[in-house]
């Protein structure tokens, strides 16, 4: 699916940090046809941490997020260059199947997109494909655990055979999160997961993200500065296809280094 040449690096260019990063991206560039959407982005994402991507619309947040699980491969016009390491392994290496990669790096989309299947089948979709369950009882267990972790079990446990598309928007989004969790990914990418939700559903999802941090690395794109401040430990600010600043969330929101970051968080650009 992806055959463009990559500059291969034997070791990450940055010196090893305290804990090894879960994902290390180096000099990533993305072109859509002739549009240069992402320029020279390098970032290290830590394990068991919530990392927020903020920035004005069209600055390349989604594009970068989609690089991390090679979803850009499904767009014909997209061309990605640079190195992205997951646990020190190049995800563009010929030995890595993008399909398998996406099972390790799960994704939740901006608009809830449950399949037009039953709630049960929505959750069981990934485990079935990847052969995670040995028996029906096993699968039932996986579905229940995923729904519980998605904080939606109580609401749907009596109607697992009802259609997933019949749920409310907030429930649908939690169903999609549960669906992503069910394949037991190591990293969870969330592209504006709350933008279609009301405040109550948003609060539920934020609570959920905080719980997920215990076992996953979570990367969340958000338009809401408050949300970034509430849920994340690290924040990256993107502007016009570049990564402007990347630091601890508290630092970004109280004492940003770059003037553009400050303008953005104080509401002067974006």
């Amino acid at each position: 699916m992806f055959d463009a040449p990559h500059p291969t690096l034997a070791t990450p260019t940055t010196p090893p940090t305290r804990t090894d990063p879960k994902i290390a991206a180096c000099n990533v560039d993305v072109h859509y046809g002739t549009t240069h959407a992402l320029r020279d982005v390098s970032v290290e994402i830590e394990d068991r941490t919530v990392t927020a991507f903020i920035g004005p619309s069209g600055c390349g947040k989604s594009t970068f997020l989609r690089c991390l699980n090679r979803m850009n491969d499904t767009i014909d016009s997209a061309r990605v260059t640079g190195v992205i390491l997951l646990d020190g392994e190049d995800i563009h290496d010929r030995r890595v199947d993008p399909v398998q990669l996406r099972a390790r790096v799960g994704m939740v989309f901006q608009k809830p997109n449950p399949f037009p299947k039953s709630i049960y089948d929505n959750i069981a979709y990934g485990p079935r494909i990847h052969g995670l369950a040995r028996s029906k009882a096993d699968l039932d267990g996986i579905v229940e655990r995923a729904l519980r972790r998605g904080a939606i079990w109580e609401e749907v446990k009596d109607r697992l055979q009802a259609s997933g598309t019949g749920l409310s928007g907030g429930q649908q989004q939690r169903l999609c999160i549960a669906r992503a969790i069910a394949t037991e990914p190591e990293v969870l990418l969330m592209d504006e997961p709350c933008s279609a939700l009301d405040p109550i559903a948003t609060a539920q999802v934020e609570e959920l993200i905080d719980e997920l941090r215990a076992s996953y690395s979570v990367v969340i794109v958000t338009h809401s500065m408050q949300q970034a401040a509430r849920v994340s430990q690290k924040t990256a600010f993107f502007h016009m296809g570049r990564l402007v600043e990347y630091d601890a969330t508290s630092k970004i929101f109280t004492n940003p280094e770059d003037a553009r970051t400050e303008s953005y968080i104080t509401g002067r650009i974006g």
Binding site: M71, V99, R102, M107, N113, F115, I129
Partner: protein, 486 residues
């Protein structure tokens, strides 16, 4: 011809009204159009409409009512008779037409044609000599009735011309006198325009209704002559061609069987190929290839079905014969068989299935595919487990529409399937369908009042109910599918 001239005169009056009305409107404000409520041309149009509208109504009404009136008078004249009323009236109508044509060509002098004491045998002889078709000899009452029909029609036409011209002139004069600076001409014209549009829409609906009603009435007429139970349960189709005799077996089951069998073969060809083509076009093909291939595939739908019929008869039939015929496996007696018609019809249906399914598959939201890829599903898993199930109702709708095309298809079966009505499971045997038999019952000079001809209406009705049912189910499914994603 008279009506043609009449309409010509009325149109000329309307055109004159348009010009006169415009001129008069301008004249009454001294040439300054701003003094008028509406622009002058609208004043002109009110006059034209005042001529055309009433004339249209009168003409339509008259043309509908006159035949009914004449029919009633003639019917009363004939009194009770042993012959079925419909047959006798048809005979009178034919005699009247024959007489009229004979007078026009001068074979029979007008005086003789109108003579109330004219000899029926003499007139019959002259008509036959003139080549005007007279099935059996005219009887005196029929001749009198035919003469009366002609007389009534002639005076009716004269009266109609008078009334129509009077109405047209009255409309012209009244509308011209109505014109004044304050006259609100534009709203009047726009209201009339809307009436015209509504009339056009109702004509479309009413003709459909009329066709259905005529099907129903003629079917009922058929069931008076032939028992419905035998029609629906009879296992034999053997119409006699001797004219009016009770010797025909008109069981619909062998024909329905042929129709369904050939349709099933056609769908067995069209559905897999069409569906796979649709999946390729919508999910795998590069956009540029799709833009090229889809219209090409749709060209198949534009080929007249008679061409497919030729293809079945001259190419596919002989080809199958070489494999399955005497020279090959020996299963097939002749090139015309269920399998021939079914294969060719299947090819005809491929673009229906593929084009509709392609649209439906493409309409499945990209978000669903992304969701599936994001969970680590491959493309084929995504298609099989997410895209196709989501598109399934629409695809079923597309297949049902194709099925109703298959059931109604005529030319391919006439040429490709043979003419023998047969209840058999062997696809290599000739069979025939409802549509093909409608054609064969009505071609040739059949007597349209006999059960052998009227059965066509019952067959047509059966087909209509069948395809209507399929279409309704298909539309309901497709609509429910649409709601699902909006």
């Amino acid at each position: 011809m008279a009506v043609f001239w009449l309409i010509g005169i009325v149109l000329a009056l309307a055109a004159a009204g348009l010009v006169l009305g415009r001129a008069r409107a301008l004249a009454c404000v001294g040439g300054d159009a701003r003094g008028l409520h509406s622009r002058p041309v609208y004043h002109g149009w009110t006059v034209a409409v005042a001529v055309l509208g009433p004339v249209g109504l009168v003409l339509t009404f008259w043309l509908l009512v006159q035949p009914l009136y004449v029919g009633a008078v003639v019917s009363a004249m004939l009194g009770d008779s042993a012959d079925p009323r419909g047959l006798l009236l048809a005979e009178v109508r034919r005699a009247a037409e024959g007489l009229e044509a004979a007078v026009e060509t001068g074979v029979i002098p007008a005086a003789l044609a109108e003579d109330a004491r004219a000899d029926a045998a003499e007139i019959t002889r002259r008509l036959k000599a003139a080549g005007q078709v007279v099935t059996s000899d005219l009887t005196a009452p029929v001749l009198r009735a035919a003469q009366r029909t002609l007389a009534l029609n002639a005076s009716g036409d004269r009266a109609m011309a008078g009334v129509v011209l009077a109405v047209a002139l009255a409309g012209l004069v009244l509308a011209l006198r109505r014109i004044a600076p304050a006259f609100r001409a534009r709203p009047v014209v726009e209201r009339d325009l809307r009436a015209l549009l509504i009339a056009a829409a109702s004509i479309a609906v009413l003709t459909t209704l009329g066709i259905v009603l005529s099907l129903v009435f003629n079917t009922v007429g058929f069931f008076r002559l032939y028992p419905a139970a035998e029609f629906f349960t009879g296992l034999d189709w053997a119409p006699s061609f001797s004219g009016r005799g009770g010797a025909s077996d008109l069981g619909v089951l062998p024909l329905l069987w042929g129709t369904l069998y050939i349709s099933v073969v056609a769908l067995a060809v069209a559905v897999p190929i069409g569906l796979f083509a649709a999946i390729y076009l919508s999910e795998y093909a590069a956009p540029r290839f799709r833009a090229l291939a889809k219209p090409l595939l749709e060209v198949l739908a534009g080929i007249p079905t008679i061409v497919y019929g030729l293809f079945a008869l001259l190419t596919v039939g002989p080809l199958l014969m070489r494999v399955f015929g005497e020279a090959g496996l020996g299963w097939m007696q002749s090139g015309t068989a269920v399998i021939t018609a079914g294969l060719v019809m299947g090819i005809m249906l491929i673009p229906f299935v593929s084009s509709l399914s392609d649209d439906i598959i493409s309409a499945v939201p990209q978000a669903l595919r992304d969701g599936s890829y994001g969970l680590g599903a491959t493309r084929s898993e995504t298609i099989r487990q997410v895209v196709l199930p989501a598109a399934l109702p629409g695809i079923v709708g597309a297949i049902l529409l194709a099925a109703s095309r298959a059931i109604g298809e005529t030319m391919i079966v006439v040429l490709g399937a043979g003419a023998a009505a047969r209840l058999s499971l062997n696809p290599f045997e000739a069979m025939t369908t409802v549509t093909a038999k409608i054609v064969s019952q009505l071609t040739g000079d059949a007597d349209f009042a006999s059960p052998e001809a009227l059965v066509a209406f019952a067959l047509g009705m059966t087909l209509f109910v069948l395809t209507l049912g399929l279409n309704v189910v298909a539309l309901v499914i497709v609509r429910r599918y649409r709601e699902h994603y909006e």
